[in-house]
Chain length 451, copies 2
């Protein structure tokens, strides 16, 4: 493949059109998260011509993304270039592009820039995006944590809030700047809130002269009555207790009514917060629209027990964009572990299909357990038969996440940073790249000096 | 200082106004680069009340910034938070803000957000900015490499160029995307051009399927006849030879006439380049305007042999913003080493002044040598009596830069990344955060598919 010169005019507008006699099977994978990567890795060892499409150039290890937002890790230390993952597999091509549609009749995937990519088999593993409960205007006020760019934005906002508060002469404005409201008390919200509290009470504690960073308010809101609702009751209770000890205020059973310049209103109570972060509702990427099929709740596409689209065995949807019922009769959760297992399953299914072997048994999710950190070397872990809290859970969490990181280089760099943080409470990535709150901040200076 | 609650109303609008009987001497340092940091470190050990103002929250180790642009290092691994550098010194305050003026009569520094900061002694170490020879419209087309955000922008552009070229069906457009023109053949331009060539010929070489990254053109332009003109002739010649071996085209004695969407025209020759980077002219930050004094060439402020402003011994200007004549009768070069030595000198001078001791002798620059890397484990080093080229120079360069990094944590992380790159040719930070060329790229698709 590497000897195809760029100047070759390709027929049909499709960049991977096949000419001449050899007709390898073309598999296109949309999305290179946990699911897409697992499928592509399996299929790289087949004869198929595989094309992996992603909006970015990297696979992102999302479970550690909150650590980028709180300046503990740099974004690249949890990212792996998709291309380099398939360097040794000339049958795998990588495309950085944004999918805008699928032409099922012509077997083409359309990208935003006009590129069209032909397929014989299509795997849609494009995951989910955050949704703001029908309030698109909340998105800018309450950014969510999904991409590397999101994490840098949150980091800029969190670090800038302390910098701006230090210069405030209006005490109300300073208090508002030092209030962080996190909406959604699932694992992402819990980990983010705990980490912000830890940041303010340890790393930043002695670095300011006029404000006391440890006085920062961190408020975790949820419409439901419990944090980590998917965990067993006693782990959920432990997490709530531990978060309170860290200084996180829990505001539960309170749905968000309003998000505005002054903060949020949740369950009728106003919380004056200069910083609001969103970790609540998600919805599927517009896979149903691309395919022209009916979308279920939150845009999910219902799939067969082998992850294929009902009525079309050459199209697969997996991970957060799909809906499949588990053995307990409930839908499988939107977890990286589900996507990863489904990706490996579909890869195996297609490898068998290509070599004429019998298909595998229907997909079955193996629940390997759930983990969430709470800040301050504490976590909760639920492995079904074993349930851990506190430091033991945190040690397991650290080890598992180091092992799950895609590249050895990332493991080394994350390990150095964690050891450093553990020894010094230091955060290795305290860099503000842009000043996101400048405009908002100026409002706190009613009488700026003439320029 | 830490017990000052944020709600205290401060008189005079100045955040560091001093109340009551104790009147410590207030020293304000603008800019926390090599010069400002050196001055602040010395003054932290005095009784003075020191305020360090910087546009960002971090000191940036600029000599390694080009490595961020070519995805070898993450931005935070060469950045140190200004605050944490002075954690143990309660007499040092840090302010993140942009200076817009100085009121010399009222002894106030004004910030963009309206904050005013009072001083008894002022040290201006705000450095230089790039200037585009009176063509402000070139700035966006040919971004320069000065801040961490700049480096991320360049990285996004460089990595995106290869991604977009891979999808091109128009061979001319693909060739243009894979042409990188660097304007200015001083150390920054040479290091950047060499590093882009190395990136395309090693790290990326086997990662693409339709383009050959090694075919990328890297063109280094300069109005002068030599690269690294400040180095002795034989080092300059060596650098030129080595760059050519790496695949860098040298286009010397050719001033830039035009920069447009298609590339540049230099010395009458058009170079079709999808990526143009600026490493040519710089000018001082507007220090002369702030002070109301006459600016010399490139906005530089002429200073006394002790770095003070003529006629005002309480104001100092140092580093890239100042002009001082060296022992050889020529102006001191705009180097980090000059700024660092001047910063330490002014810090010492003020420490003596505060304790009633005699002033030091006039500032004298100790030239410790010059270094520049050329890509591919090669460099040139000029220590006056010893001149090195190739691998020995590169080993010296690596050791010196590791030692000069501000924090131990940064040294560890940079070392891990360098070892990794050396063993694998891998680049640790191949992350595209934003897609900067989307708009430009779309122009290369004359007939995009309907959406």
């Amino acid at each position: 493949m590497t000897d195809v010169p760029p100047q070759r005019q390709l027929p049909n507008g499709s960049v991977n059109a096949v000419e001449g006699g050899a007709k390898p099977h073309r598999i296109v994978i949309v999305g290179c998260g946990f699911g897409g990567l697992a499928a592509a890795k399996r299929l790289a060892r087949t004869e198929a011509q595989v094309t992996v499409i992603d909006r970015t150039n990297h696979n992102l290890f999302q479970p550690l993304l909150y650590q980028v937002a709180v300046a503990a890790l740099s974004a690249d230390s949890i990212s792996t270039p998709v291309r380099s993952a398939f360097r040794g597999h000339p049958n795998v091509s990588t495309v950085m592009g944004t999918v805008t549609g699928v032409d099922r009749a012509a077997r083409l995937v359309m990208l935003e820039d006009g590129t069209r990519i032909g397929f014989d088999t299509l795997i849609l593993a494009s995951g989910s995006v955050y949704s703001w409960f029908g309030h698109p205007d909340w998105a800018e006020r309450a950014p969510a944590l999904k991409t590397a760019a999101d994490a840098i934005l949150l980091r800029d906002r969190i670090l800038s809030a302390f910098e701006h508060a230090e210069l405030q002469t209006d005490p109300d404005a300073a208090r508002r700047l030092l209030c962080f409201a996190v909406v959604g008390a699932g694992p992402t919200g819990v980990e983010l809130a705990g980490a912000i509290a830890e940041l303010s009470r340890t790393t930043l504690a002695r670095d300011f002269r006029r404000i006391r960073p440890g006085d920062a308010r961190v408020v975790l809101c949820d419409a439901g009555p419990r944090v980590l609702a998917a965990f067993p009751d006693h782990l959920s209770d432990y997490a709530a207790r531990r978060l309170r000890e860290l200084g996180v205020e829990l505001h539960l059973g309170a749905a968000v009514d309003t998000i505005d310049d002054d903060g949020i209103v949740a369950g009728g109570t106003r919380i004056e917060a200069g910083n609001v972060f969103w970790a609540a509702g998600t919805e599927a990427t517009p896979v149903a629209k691309w395919l022209g099929v009916e979308a279920g709740k939150n845009g999910l596409v219902a799939v067969e027990p082998d992850c294929s689209l009902p009525g079309d065995p050459s199209v697969f949807v997996l991970g957060d964009a799909s809906r499949m019922t588990g053995e307990n009769g409930k839908p499988l959760p939107a977890l990286g572990a589900v996507a990863k297992q489904q990706g490996a399953y579909v890869g195996d299914l297609l490898a068998r299909r290509l070599s004429g072997r019998a298909p595998p048994k229907p997909f079955r999710y193996r629940n390997l357990g759930e983990l969430a950190t709470l800040g301050g070397s504490s976590a909760v872990a639920n492995f079904g038969f074993v349930r851990l809290t506190g430091l033991p859970a945190w040690i397991v969490w650290s080890a598992v996440h180091l092992l799950l990181l895609v590249s050895l280089r990332n493991r080394l760099v994350v390990y150095v940073n964690w050891m450093w943080a553990w020894l010094t409470y230091g955060r290795g990535a305290r860099v503000i790249l842009q000043e996101p709150q400048r405009a908002q901040q100026t409002a706190f200076h009613p009488a700026p000096a003439p320029r």
